[in-house]
Amino acid sequence: MANLKDIQRQIKSVSNTQKTTRAMKLVSTAKLRRAEELAKRSRLYSEKMNQVIAEIAGRIKCNKVGGIDNRCFIEIENPKMVDIVFVTADKGLCGGFNIQTIKAVKKLITEYKEQNVKVRLRGIGKKGIEFFKYNEIELFDEVLGLSSKPDKKRADEFITASIEDYKDGKIDGLYIVYNGYKNMITQELHVNKVLPVDTEQFDCNETATSLLEVEAQDEEKMLDSLVSKYVEYNMYYSLIDSVAAEHSARMQAMDTATNNAKEMVKSLNVQFNKARQAAITTELIEIISGVESMK
């Protein structure tokens, strides 16, 4: 049986861990609420943005001979190179949050490798970057500190490089992979094909909301400018969604850790009591047998 003092020390250490995990859970709960609020407010913008793009793209697609000839809307038949942007957390201790994203990225890479397509990996977040570096998979670009503190300007700067490369024809596809927030206890993995934009979703419903329509400026130029903003916004939204998911994952992981620690303290206490009882019994037996032998 283990030494009484050893068990006592173990109990103390486990309950200290429990304190830490509980505190981390509380911090994540508070941060989650804020992140969730931001994501919710931002979703309104995305709805309208999609609406505007769908309307303009739909109009061009249906009214112009040959459809849309903007590169951002055309499915490229033999892609040579694709960009994969992944978003992971900067910190760990959040269960399987990061590894899920990493796995999805790895799967995507293998799929493209099989088709002989080159992949450029662009990473956001320390954990994912560390993983790929450790496994000696080359990263084209990396950013730290953006996933824990989403910032529209930095996100724009980061993704603009990919958008420009796409428009120049250097790359033929752009993916954003991240773990998004679904609800308090679940995260949802997103593998979003951002470019080229899927035109299937735009249909030609001629729902003229107004009888009179002002002929706008060059619609294709407008679409070109809109699509950049659309991708930039998608990147930003991935970041804020990922932060919310990270906190919910951490909250959950820390909750489980706290519970585990509680269980452990309980079983250690039982062990401690048993050991103490055993020590008392041994001592008693020694005394009694000592007295017996004196008789």
């Binding site: 329509e213 400026q217 809109l226 903003k229």
Partner: protein
């Protein structure tokens, strides 16, 4: 006078949602005003100031750096990337908004030659509030 419904949305949330008598927008091909029952129109906006005239004749200014507007007969929806509303109940609030606005202007300054006039306009808008 008839009112129109105006929504100004940024990636970080809505900054204006309410009725207005008229809105002046910095369109890419020039500034234009929108009253209620305007014909449908979708167009891009460039960096500039949106002036919102409210029912009580007061004017609120919102600085934007890029945007797209969707106008139909009942509603005006403006999607912007970065925006600062020049408003506040007291002097310090207005000053704070003005500082934010200037920061936004500095970010876009090199890409737009007409930025000096924008800067002057938001200052005068802030002056009126104080």
């Amino acid at each position: 006078m008839d009112k129109l419904k105006l929504e100004i949305l940024t990636p970080n949330g809505m900054i204006y949602d309410g009725d207005a008598v008229s809105v002046t927008l910095p369109g890419e091909e020039g500034e234009f005003g929108v009253l209620a029952h305007h014909a449908s129109l979708t167009t891009l906006l460039e960096a500039g100031v949106i002036d919102i005239e409210k029912e009580d004749k007061s004017v609120e200014s919102v600085l934007i750096n890029w945007g797209v507007v969707q106008v139909d007969e009942k509603k005006v929806i403006v999607l912007v990337e970065g925006a600062v509303a020049i408003r506040g109940d007291n002097e310090s609030d207005v000053a704070k908004a003005l500082d934010e606005a200037k920061e936004l202007i500095n970010d876009i300054a090199d890409s737009n030659p007409a930025i000096a006039s924008v800067s002057a306009r938001i200052e005068s808008a802030a002056q009126k509030l104080i």
